[in-house]
């Protein structure tokens, strides 16, 4: 662990990676950031498990058992946990299935959808089981900070990261809080 650097982990659960793309959108400010932080588990490093970290950033809500496991691993290891983006904060578009019966969803997609031949509902033990509803992160673990937006803008993400790295309570101003 490099001396004095803030250790940051990120993960995408039931999200679309849009929030991670928006994170990369902070462009050259990434260099400034990388002088102060180092990455633990993230899709950028390909480290598979999260170790002790200062900041954990999660994109996406929980739609299956693996999401819950990863989220709990982050919560155990990260001093500060940030819900990044609409899906992490509200469940987002995946949660639009929440008022539907899961069994009915699976059979429509895998069995009765027109054009399917010999369809079957996937049932490999390797596959995490879907939850009956998609949950925003705060319904599963304690979340310290929320950044809404689909995705949050690069400026909003930058502001939150800069505040956290400087040890300030993160705050977004007008125009940086958005729900869409």
């Amino acid at each position: 662990m490099a001396e004095g650097r803030i250790r940051v982990a990120t993960a995408s659960l039931a999200g679309c990676f849009g929030c991670h793309m928006s994170l990369l959108d902070i462009d050259e400010r990434l260099f400034e950031l990388l002088e102060k932080i180092e990455f633990d588990r993230t899709p950028l490093t390909d480290i598979k498990h999260c170790g002790p970290c200062d900041i954990g950033i999660i994109e996406g809500g929980c739609c299956n058992a693996e999401n819950v496991e990863v989220l709990r691993e982050f919560r155990r290891n990260c001093k500060i946990l940030v819900a990044l983006g609409a899906c992490a904060v509200t469940g987002g578009l995946p949660a639009q299935r929440n008022h539907l019966d899961l069994g009915a969803c699976l059979s429509e997609v895998y069995l009765t959808e027109p054009g399917l031949v010999n369809g079957q509902i996937p049932n490999d033990p390797e596959l995490p089981l879907p939850l009956d509803q998609v949950h925003p992160l705060h319904e599963v673990v304690k979340v310290d900070y929320f950044v809404p937006g689909c995705p949050p803008s690069a400026d909003a993400i930058w502001k939150i990261l800069a505040d956290l790295v400087a040890g300030r309570t993160p705050r977004l101003g007008h125009g940086q809080i958005q729900y869409d």
Partner: protein
């Protein structure tokens, strides 16, 4: 009448003149002072249901949209305590319905959303209900998405009082409260609603929507992209008390 001849009350320490008969929110908005609100609409008799406009008048909580202005009243509005309460109300509205802003045609023009931005609401906080509220797409030109209704009753009042039709009503109590369409079939297609109805204009959120025009205005140019709701509400407020010369 000159502004200085008018009676006045104090709002957060500032003197607000009023004409007798005005409510606290009317006088405040007219004088250029914003009090957050959701179910209040300048053209309709206040309904006083959302409580977002709650202020403390001489130390007692009251809805600013129904409270008559009185000389000498000391009103607190922009305090941490009251803004916290407003945030909680907004959060409960988000948790109670299904508000998927990224896929909502009203996004950017929605009062609930804009209030959330202005009050700094970052999360609904509560466990989301995710209720099952099927949409009514029966009408060829108008879509009803019940998932976003905040029960402000503005459409009910507009349809009755302005359109003279009574297309909508609210029914049920407490958490069972919901919007219904006054037709035997319960379907919007079987009412005499028209695209020109006032009821279509007044919904502060994305329930009563014109079909075929969704997402016409690009992000960045929608109503609340340009100005926060606190500034917009002041622009929209009637200014009947501009100083009259002579």
């Amino acid at each position: 009448m000159n502004e200085s001849d008018l009676p006045s009350f104090l709002l957060d320490g500032e003197e607000i003149p009023f004409t007798p008969g005005q409510t606290v929110i009317q006088a405040a908005l007219t004088a250029g002072h914003y009090i957050p609100h959701l179910c209040y609409h300048p053209e309709f008799v206040p309904h006083g249901s959302c409580k977002v406009c709650t202020v403390k008048a001489n130390g007692r909580p009251a809805a600013a949209c129904t409270l008559p202005a009185q000389a000498g009243l000391a009103v607190e509005s922009d305090t941490d305590e009251l803004n916290d309460l407003r945030r909680t109300l907004v959060q409960m509205l988000f948790a109670e319905g299904n508000h998927f802003c990224p896929s909502c045609e009203k996004s950017g023009n929605c009062m609930l959303q804009a209030l959330g931005y202005d009050l700094g609401v970052m999360t609904a906080g509560f466990r989301h209900f995710f209720p099952d509220r099927p949409v009514d797409a029966s009408h060829p030109d108008i879509l009803l998405d019940f998932n976003r209704c905040i029960f402000c009753k503005l459409c009910v009042r507009a349809s009755e009082e302005v359109d003279g039709k009574g297309v909508f009503s609210l029914t049920g109590r407490g958490i069972m409260r919901h919007l219904i369409v006054s037709a035997e079939s319960g379907r919007l297609a079987d009412t005499d609603i028209a695209l020109t109805d006032k009821a279509l204009e007044v919904c502060p959120v994305g329930v009563i929507l014109r079909k075929h025009v969704g997402f016409a205005v690009p992000i960045g140019r929608r109503r609340y992209d340009e100005r926060p709701i606190s500034a917009q509400a002041l622009d929209d407020a009637p200014r009947m008390m501009e100083p009259k010369h002579g």
